[in-house]
């Protein structure tokens, strides 16, 4: 390939953020292009078809499936109330020994099958609505499906998260990016807040954050062992966002004790007191999705934002090493030898030479660094 290039995570002071907000099924869009929206403004709604209940009428009445039509009191499309009688046998001597079948739910008779003797009742539709998630402006309406909301914001992507969309006020909870987040830095004043931490969060600190009702925690790293204990299970594939643990957690660097990058720490803590929207949802397959912190900037138009073209790795770029044994080191690219080189494992790969802050020069595979985007 022409060049090895691992795009870094976006950590940007000012950028234009666009979010697509789409219904799972077609429905109604409630806003129009140009509308200003708050994070909790409902932008579209629809109704999902209700749940379905099946009743084996033939079985319950002790008759053949094709006889069901003779005993049923309702027809397809009829509404029924819960406990309403929907079928009954004739019984002996009028009402004695009469078998009655009552509807287990309120709904509509969907089908009655003469082949299987099954009756299907559909419950009332389930309303579904979606909110704007971020404060911003509607820039596009996708007819019957949803909208695109746009805002000018400080935007920080994490590498991994759990828990879904939430919002709150940014609060710094440690002094330095290398400080761990322990239970003692969390108190009741953080209720509803998005806490910005340092290098690692412990399970005990996470438990306390849930207890005081924090919305989210953004931190450099976490031990996988602690994450497993916190979740109560082992994460299998990297698709998250639906965890219901009472908090959204965003890891910016990786697993283990990892100082949050200075840039991310500074951007986030400089935004102390501002309202932000966050999402821990992560998907590391085709259609990569990373967790994010979006802090809308009031009164900014975004006209002065330069759009940088994605490009390959170049000498002078600032990179982060993302694999052992130098995981977490940050340095500048000083050499990009074109020819393949044999590394310790004997694999022949494209390499680069990185000079770290303390002047150490490290040769490593290009695949094991990511660009720190300015």
């Amino acid at each position: 390939m022409a060049h090895a290039y691992t795009p870094g995570l976006k950590v940007t002071k000012k950028t234009i953020v666009r979010k697509e907000r789409k219904l799972p099924l077609k429905g109604n869009v409630l806003v129009k292009v140009g509308d200003e929206v708050e994070p909790d403004t409902i932008v579209a709604k629809t109704e999902l078809p209700g749940d379905v209940q099946t009743i084996n009428l033939a079985g319950k009445l002790g008759i053949m499936p094709d006889e069901v039509k003779d005993f049923i009191l309702k027809k397809e499309g009829d509404p029924v109330e819960k406990d309403e009688v929907i079928a009954e046998t004739k019984g002996l001597f009028g009402r004695f020994l009469k078998t009655q079948i009552k509807s287990p739910v309120k709904g509509t008779i969907e089908t009655v099958s003469p082949i299987t003797g099954q009756l299907i009742i559909r419950e009332p539709p389930i309303p579904v609505q979606i909110d704007a998630y971020i404060k911003g402006k509607i820039v596009e309406v996708i007819e019957n499906e949803g909208v695109i909301v746009e805002t000018v914001a400080t935007f920080v992507q994490g590498i991994f998260g759990i828990g879904g969309e939430t919002k709150g006020v940014i609060r710094r909870i440690v002094d330095k990016p290398s400080d761990p987040v322990t239970p003692d830095v969390i108190d009741d004043s953080l209720k509803g807040a998005i806490g910005i931490g340092g290098s690692i969060v412990t399970k005990e600190a996470l438990d306390k954050a849930v207890k005081v009702g924090m919305s989210a925690l953004v931190v450099g790293g976490i031990d996988d062992m602690d994450l497993k204990k916190f979740l109560g299970y082992e994460i299998g594939v990297a698709i998250t966002g639906n965890e219901q643990k009472g908090i959204t957690l965003i890891i910016t660097e990786g697993f283990g004790k990892m100082n949050m990058s200075n840039k991310a720490f500074k951007l986030l803590t400089d935004s102390e007191g501002k309202h932000a929207s966050v999402n821990g949802a992560t998907q590391i397959r085709a259609g990569v999705m990373r967790p994010e912190v979006i802090i809308p900037l009031e009164g900014e138009t975004g006209e002065d934002i330069e759009i940088k073209e994605a490009r390959g790795l170049e000498v002078g770029d600032l990179v982060r090493i993302i694999r052992a044994p130098y995981f977490g080191y940050i340095g500048k690219v000083v050499e990009l030898p074109p020819e393949l080189q044999k590394i310790e494992t004997e694999a022949k790969v494209r390499v680069l030479v990185v000079e770290t802050d303390n002047g150490e020069r490290i040769t490593l595979p290009r695949a094991n660094v990511e660009i720190i985007e300015e």
Binding site: D51, P65, I120, E234, A286, F327, N368
Partner: protein, 597 residues
């Protein structure tokens, strides 16, 4: 398209989820050979959203490397003349997450299982199987169909002429769920009915208005026989018509190819089937990827494919850990590492899947995880690759002493002739012997087995090519695709003591003896074969029965002949120190790593 006989130049591409790979094959003299391979990033997703861009880039790389002019703008030049054009162009695709299906059948162990085999064989990921006896409530089944949003549903049930009410009920459930396809809301979900032919009219009434219904021959017309081909073929057709046609750029790509685009694993399966049939051998093929591990096999002439959707080396690496546990991974690692540290390393690979091991320690850990992913994938394969269940068997007196239940696995590691590995962990291991040992350890091969790897993952291209031109596909497979590693000799048995000779191998005037718990490597180069007499010790079997010698030709390769005296089933010492000592002994004897930490 040119007539099949005089194809001179063939172009094939495989659009994977990250890379599009193009190969060019030419007829040189009387044989077909690979000329070159080009690749480019796949362009299905934003900002390109047009798969053909990546295809064109990969073809341009082929043009640059060969000097053959293939493209006229965005058009593929046909036919081939001198240094210009190709005679045929074929392609496979697994971009966009591949083909995801749900299957339904009346009895879980019978028609539902047959339906799952048909879907897997066609190259699909089976998201779930619904059956009348799956112990779920109806509302749970409906909820499941709704939530999973498959690309397609395969419904079967009932033998021809049998009862129809069960399969009709399943159709009612599918209709009630009003399933929506994964891509967009603008088209109906394809449903294939391959059940009791007497139920067709009822099925039509129920499903025709709520889905894009297709009806094919019953995949289990009688209990004793499966007829999976019509369902498999229909899945391939619908994959193109409905699923791929909604993915960006595929409509255009479809007009370029001379035969329909196939799902990548479906094409690999076809090739494995072709090879097994042509050579009359039993074959096991494996493709270990970042997200999934596919296993293909042909045993007793029956083809099977399974995909372990959540066993892989990057995206799914954490799931390997979740399924097998830390101790099972650590047993293959010849040094001590703290569990907290190991867990963090595995997770960091999951979140940054494109990184590669830089140190030997890291490589050994990755190869330990690969062994477990392969082992688990084969276990799943063994459960699916079984004889038909519910079939009455005629028994003779002798059978009564060796009773086999119906539905036993077809996978027999002793009769297996050839293992072919592919995917990053096996194709790109720095030393080929590492791939050989990973496969021996993970699959616990038995008896005499040839080992090979697919060097540059050409099997999909050759699979789809085999549907139009089998000769070129098999010739290139033999000569350019496979890297032959050599042969493993594994006596099966457990009742030996450490130090007791378990097998003696006579090659010419040389005799090699391997003791219980030992491994040995005999040099035998690529293209070389030797006649060997293999004499197992009493209680050990290399294929002819306990203690019975076998005389056979052994094939060499880039590794050689590996004699594995560790017995089967393979157990490693429980004691931590002893286990590490043993691993070091084997790695040293086979020269697996440049050094061991």
């Amino acid at each position: 398209m040119n007539t099949k006989k005089d194809l001179k130049r063939i172009l094939a591409t495989d659009c994977g989820s990250t890379t599009t790979k193009a190969i060019l094959i030419e007829k040189k003299g009387e044989e077909y050979r690979l000329v070159v391979r080009g690749e480019a990033p796949t362009t299905v997703e934003a900002p390109f959203e047009d798969v053909t861009k990546g295809v064109l880039n990969a073809i341009r790389e082929v043009e640059e490397l060969t000097g053959v002019e293939i493209l006229d703008g965005e058009k593929i030049i046909k036919p081939a003349q001198d240094k210009r054009g190709v005679d045929i162009y074929v392609s496979t695709s697994s971009a966009g997450g591949g083909l995801q299906m749900m299957v339904a059948g009346v009895v879980k162990q019978m028609t539902a299982e047959s339906a799952a085999r048909a879907a897997l064989g066609a190259g699909a990921i089976v998201m779930d199987v619904i059956a009348t006896n799956d112990k779920r409530m109806d509302h749970e089944r409906i909820e499941l169909i709704r939530r999973l949003r498959p690309d397609m549903i395969l419904l079967s049930g009932g033998v021809d002429g049998g009862t129809i009410s069960h399969v009709v009920h399943l159709a009612e459930l599918i209709a009630a769920a009003e399933p929506k396809p994964r891509f967009g809301t603008g088209y109906d979900l394809p449903v294939i009915y391959a059940g009791n032919k007497d139920a067709r009219e009822e099925i039509k009434k129920i499903l025709e208005k709520k889905s894009a219904l297709s009806i094919v021959d019953n995949l289990r017309p009688v209990l004793e026989r499966e007829n999976l081909k019509p369902a498999r073929d229909k899945i391939h057709d619908l994959f193109m018509e409905h699923v791929m046609a909604h993915a960006p750029g595929y409509r255009k790509l479809m007009t370029w190819t001379d035969v329909p685009i196939m799902p990548t694993p479906g094409a690999v399966g076809l090739l494995i089937e072709t090879v097994a049939r042509k050579e009359n051998i039993e074959v096991l093929g494996v493709d270990i990827g970042g997200a999934t591990t596919d296993i293909f096999s042909v045993f007793q002439g029956v083809f099977n494919r399974t995909v372990s959707a959540n066993l892989g080396m990057s995206y799914s690496i954490s799931n390997v850990l979740a399924e097998t546990g830390i101790p099972n991974i650590m047993r293959w690692v010849p040094f001590t590492i703290d569990e907290v540290e190991l867990r963090n390393r595995i997770r960091n690979k999951m979140i940054r899947p494109t990184t590669i091991p830089q140190t030997l320690e890291e490589l050994m850990i990755e190869q330990a995880i690969a062994r477990e992913a392969l082992r688990l994938a084969l276990l799943q394969h063994k459960e699916m690759a079984v004889g038909l269940k519910g079939v009455q068997q005629e028994r003779t007196i002798s059978d009564a002493f060796a009773q086999t239940a119906t539905g036993e696995t077809l996978v027999n590691m002793m009769t297996l002739n050839l293992v072919v590995g592919s995917g990053g962990a096996l194709s790109h291991a720095p030393r080929r012997v590492q791939s050989a040992l990973m496969m021996i350890d993970a699959f616990e091969v038995q008896g005499i087995t040839r080992l090979a790897v697919d060097s540059i993952f050409m099997m999909p291209h050759l699979g789809v090519l085999s549907t139009v031109h089998e000769r070129s596909a098999t010739e290139v497979f033999e000569k350019d695709c496979l890297i032959r590693l050599g042969t493993s000799i594994v006596p099966v048995g457990t009742s030996a003591k450490e130090g007791q000779v378990v097998v003696t191998v006579n090659i010419g005037d040389k005799t090699y003896q391997v003791k219980y718990g030992e491994m040995k490597l005999i040099q035998l180069g690529l293209g070389e074969t030797v006649e060997a007499e293999i004499i197992p010790a009493k209680g050990f079997d290399v294929g002819a029965g306990k203690g019975k010698p076998v005389t056979t030709k052994l094939e060499g390769g880039v590794v050689g002949v590996i004699i594995d005296g560790r017995g089967r089933p393979l157990t490693l010492p429980e004691d931590h120190g002893k286990r590490i000592a043993k691993l070091k002994e084997w790695f040293t004897e086979l020269d697996v790593y440049p050094s061991i930490p």
